[in-house]
């Protein structure tokens, strides 16, 4: 979601109940403009988050529970680590400290990789290489908007190569270069797709990361997603369907 359309997006994504209060919205708008210029929490001070690395992801997978709100808070958890000492190998309990900042970074990265979505047709790929925004994207039609296959993950395609040739024949290589939502595991389960306001707005909510809301007004160019939540993955998803 662009900074310019923040207000509109919040309005459209409000069906999930979480939003921002007016004062926060105001400060967010102002500060986003500044962030574009340079970097600066609290909707006024931003700090540059380091990009996520794999080890961060591994570390933070061990941490459960809520975020504290303080980036410098450190989580402790004990881990059994194998320690090599000479010829002996024995396990020791090691207390690993993970900073909340690290955890935040990796969670954001995971969320982005897992559930950031865009409608089909909004981006397209040219044979020259780079992916472009499709300026003639007029929005999905109503029937398309209700189907999961019209939305793609906004990330490098992971699954495309695994498709059979038959399936690939139907794809349009300039548009379908990302994974569709149809094949998310669990199938037919990890997204809730609803029409609100009497078909004037389609809202997708992720069930794997509760708090992620994607909205799109069919036949218009408006779409976007926002995450407002506790930053915890819903691992109970298979039980809940």
């Amino acid at each position: 979601m662009d900074a310019e359309s923040l207000l509109l997006s919040l309005e459209l994504a409000s069906g999930s109940g979480q939003g921002l209060s007016p004062d926060r919205r105001a400060s967010l708008l102002t500060s986003l403009l500044l962030v574009k210029r340079d970097y600066r929490l609290n909707c006024t001070d931003w700090s540059l988050l380091p990009p996520a690395t794999e080890e961060m992801v591994v570390q933070t997978a061990m941490v459960k529970g809520r975020f504290m709100g303080d980036p410098s808070h450190e989580y402790e958890h004990t881990e059994l680590q194998k320690v090599n000492e000479g010829d002996k190998v024995f396990e020791e309990e090691v207390v690993v400290q993970v900073k909340e900042e690290t955890r935040l970074v990796s969670i954001i990265d995971q969320i982005d990789k897992a559930v950031a979505i865009i409608p089909r047709g909004a981006l397209f790929k040219t044979p020259f290489g780079p992916t472009n925004v499709n300026r003639t994207f007029e929005g999905l039609s109503l029937s398309e908007a209700k189907k999961l296959s019209s939305y793609f993950h906004f990330r490098e395609a992971v699954d495309l190569k695994n498709k059979t040739l038959l399936e690939k024949a139907d794809l349009d290589p300039s548009l379908d270069f990302m994974d569709s939502l149809e094949h998310d595991i669990p199938k037919a389960g990890s997204w809730s797709i609803q029409m609100e306001r009497g078909n004037a707005l389609v809202v997708l909510r992720s069930l794997l990361w509760p708090g992620l809301t994607f909205y799109h007004a069919p036949r218009t160019k408006n779409y976007g997603y926002i995450y407002v939540g506790t930053g915890e993955k819903n691992l109970d998803l298979p039980f809940m369907l």
Binding site: G15, T136, D236
Partner: protein, 717 residues
């Protein structure tokens, strides 16, 4: 194509496309404005030429000689002065258009073009000059499909304005173009005065072929495509050409619908809009106008907009438009049902649809009627079943073999709480969207609450959907929803300390009839607690809904007691031994317990408080958020407070969900001698037995005979 000889002089009105080019020529010569010849699709004409122009624009990246073509066609345009290039120029006069192309063509051709222009303007006077120059562009016109590679041309020849024969092309693909073939034949067979004109005609006829599948011809498609491009003037059109192509094709098949016809896709949208519009109309419009005075009467509908405003300060809630619709929907509910008080409880999200929940209290006596109907239905069913069982038992008794009766008895069903008490204190109505009818949820039973604690399922949005789970949930989604609502209400409905107080105490607290303990009333002297204090300490908030015991009720009932006993209060009971055998009484925290006594989740406090706006604490609102039930919020400001829930309807647990294990294997029926089967004797044994019996019989007969003989002998003596 070469059949109808072109007759540039006569304005022939024949069918083939050749007349178009001849018209062109005529127009060019006569310089008449084209409007008189509106019979023809002028745009086709113009776009053909425009196509040529565009083509040349694209080829600017290519060879230099191509730029030479520009001035030619611009000159033609100049010649056509009066023609309106409506789709092309977007209102620009022709001269300006010429100018822009000149500018964009790059500086290389700049100087050359001006001189060329002068020459070519002279050429226009001549007869055949146009078509000589038209010749080459037809091929680009035909090739506009995809071949951007341009062919070489000889510059000086064009400038000389001599009638030339057909030029040979280097590009091998061009050899396949039918127009060229026709053209070549032409050139060799008959010396036509306008060979290039024929080429134009051929090319155009080819383009105008409609494809087999549809009525769309390539020509028209290109017209649309180029029109669109010129109208929108996107940056870098080459890179998005594919998309534009597809879009244009799509548009051809999905024209913008007539306003007179209904779009089938939009039908559901319109239906819902109409329903919502009905919300906006006043009720009882047919009975005459409502006077203004009547509207000031107090209604049971709460001030949703005010609540929404305060929650918005906290960053919670739905958009204001949605809130207003909810307000209207509640108003509709109040009019339909005999409601005493009503409150917007919140929104529960579901997979396919969401639920809007309203918490209501009926007026006195109204509710009983509906309840009885529901109960009668249920009891009717039960009576029938019992009857059936009795009959079955009778039949069984009549049978010779009595089937051993199982010793298992189902655990006694804990009776559900009466209406207006405990977990069933309020009635709940749900609807999926404002404008849709409200559905009443049934009362919750303790069994349902107990099971709801064990499972964790998403709501689908349909009330009659089954809840498939283990342990099997006794009911469908409506019951599960009601159970979750009950749990959420009991856990997260809080109010500022002092807002509610107990009624007048009746004697000692030790008496079991302390009715003040489960009912409360508003404190008229409540002054409000300053917001900062509300935020600081959890002791300033209290629960005002009764806690639900593990049994599933708010007030404890001993299931083993057979006699109907009056309700006992859960706390401070010392009479624990009234016929309770193995069941311990369950105790829960009393009503109006402050939040500071709530158990923690791991190391986290179950509630989080904050001020809505730290920059202006004077006007901000205290907000409390539940960590145990994510989505439950409460705000308090001065004397006002309100609770709201917007979420999926599940409790938070830091550990993963563990489903209940299946029950242990039941014991088999104990085997004893009475039911142990005897093994049947084998054939040998039977035969042996038979032989032994015969022997015994024979021996017995012999003995008898002996005895008889003895007797006879005795007698004879």
């Amino acid at each position: 194509m070469g059949d109808s000889p072109p007759n540039p002089e006569a304005p022939s009105q024949q069918q083939s496309s050749s007349r178009r080019s001849s018209q062109v020529s005529e127009r060019q010569r006569s310089r008449e404005p084209s409007q008189s010849q509106a019979a023809f699709p002028d745009e086709g004409q113009q776009v053909l030429l425009g196509a040529q122009q565009i083509n040349l624009r694209w080829s600017q990246g290519g060879n230099l000689p191509e730029d030479e073509n520009l001035p030619m066609f611009q000159a033609e345009e100049g010649g056509m002065g009066g023609m309106e290039y409506q789709p092309m120029s977007a209102g620009f006069p022709v001269e300006f258009q010429t100018q822009t192309y000149l500018d964009e063509s790059g500086t290389q051709a700049g100087e050359q073009t001006t001189s060329l222009m002068q020459q070519l303007q002279r050429l226009q006077q001549g007869q055949g000059g146009f078509f000589q120059q038209l010749e080459s562009p037809t091929y680009p016109g035909a090739n506009v499909l995809g071949q951007f590679s341009m062919y070489q041309r000889d510059d000086p020849q064009f400038m000389q304005n001599i009638e030339h024969g057909p030029y040979l092309r280097d590009d091998p693909a061009l050899h396949f173009s039918p127009s060229e073939l026709g053209f070549m034949n032409f050139g060799t067979e008959m010396p036509e005065p306008e060979p290039r004109e024929l080429a134009v005609q051929n090319a155009k006829a080819y383009l105008l072929q409609t494809s087999i599948n549809c009525d769309l011809s390539l020509y028209e498609h290109l017209v649309n495509l180029l029109t669109k491009i010129l109208n929108q003037r996107p940056e870098d059109p080459l890179s998005i050409l594919e998309t534009l192509n597809r879009t244009t094709q799509w548009e051809w098949f999905h024209p913008k619908m007539d306003t007179l016809r209904d779009d089938p896709e939009m039908q559901p949208t319109y239906e819902i809009a109409e329903k919502q519009k009905a919300l906006f109309s006043r009720s009882g419009g047919g009975e005459g106008e409502q006077e203004m005075e009547e509207e000031v009467v107090e209604t049971a509908v709460p001030n949703i907009m005010e609540t929404a405003f305060y929650f918005e300060q906290a960053g919670v809630g739905l958009s204001s438009v949605e809130s207003f619709r909810i307000f209207l929907a509640l108003k509709q509910l109040v009019e339909q049902q005999p409601i005493h008080t009503c409150r917007f409880w919140g929104k529960i999200l579901g997979l396919k649809r969401s639920y809007l929940v309203a918490e209501v209290e009926f007026r006195e006596g109204e509710e009983e009627a509906e309840e009885e109907e529901v109960e009668e239905l249920m009891e009717g069913g039960e009576v029938v079943e019992a009857h059936g069982e009795e009959e079955g038992e009778e039949d069984e008794e009549k049978a010779v073999d009595v089937v051993p009766k199982p010793t298992w008895k189902p655990p006694p069903v804990i009776p559900k709480e009466e209406s207006r008490t405990g977990a069933n204190k309020y009635l709940y109505f749900v609807c999926n969207e404002p404008g849709r009818p409200w559905t009443r949820l049934p009362h919750v039973t303790p069994a349902q609450i107990v099971h709801a604690r064990k499972i964790k399922k998403f709501f689908t949005g349909y009330l009659d959907a089954p809840v498939i789970s283990y342990p099997p949930f006794p009911g469908n989604e409506a019951n599960y929803l009601r159970a979750q609502i009950a749990r959420i209400s009991a856990a997260t409905h809080i109010s500022p300390l002092g807002f509610y107080q107990f009624g007048e105490e009746e004697g000692d607290e030790e008496e079991e009839g302390g009715a003040g303990r489960d009912s409360f009333e508003e404190n008229p002297d409540f002054e409000g607690i300053p917001v900062l204090e509300m935020v600081d300490s959890m002791a300033n908030w209290v629960h005002h809904m009764q806690h639900i015991l593990p049994q599933g009720r708010c007030t404890w009932v001993n299931p083993l007691q057979k006699s109907e006993e009056e309700e006992e209060l859960g706390e401070e009971e010392e009479k624990a031994d009234e016929g309770m055998e193995e069941v311990e009484q369950e105790v829960g925290p009393p009503l109006l317990t402050p939040l500071s006594e709530d158990a923690e989740i791991m190391h986290l406090s179950p509630w989080t408080t904050r001020l809505s706006c730290s920059l202006c604490p004077q006007y901000s609102v205290a907000v409390v958020r539940s960590n145990l039930w994510p989505g439950a919020y409460t705000y308090a400001s001065g004397k006002k407070f309100e609770n709201l829930y917007i979420g999926w309807g599940h409790k938070y647990s830091p550990d993963n969900f563990n489903p209940a294990l299946p029950a242990p294997i039941q014991q088999e029926y104990p085997s004893g001698p009475e039911i142990t089967e005897m093994s049947d004797p084998t054939v040998e044994e039977e035969q042996a037995l038979k032989a032994a019996q015969e022997q015994a019989l024979a021996a017995a007969e012999e003995e008898e005979e002996d005895e008889e003989e003895d007797e006879d002998e005795d007698l004879e003596d």
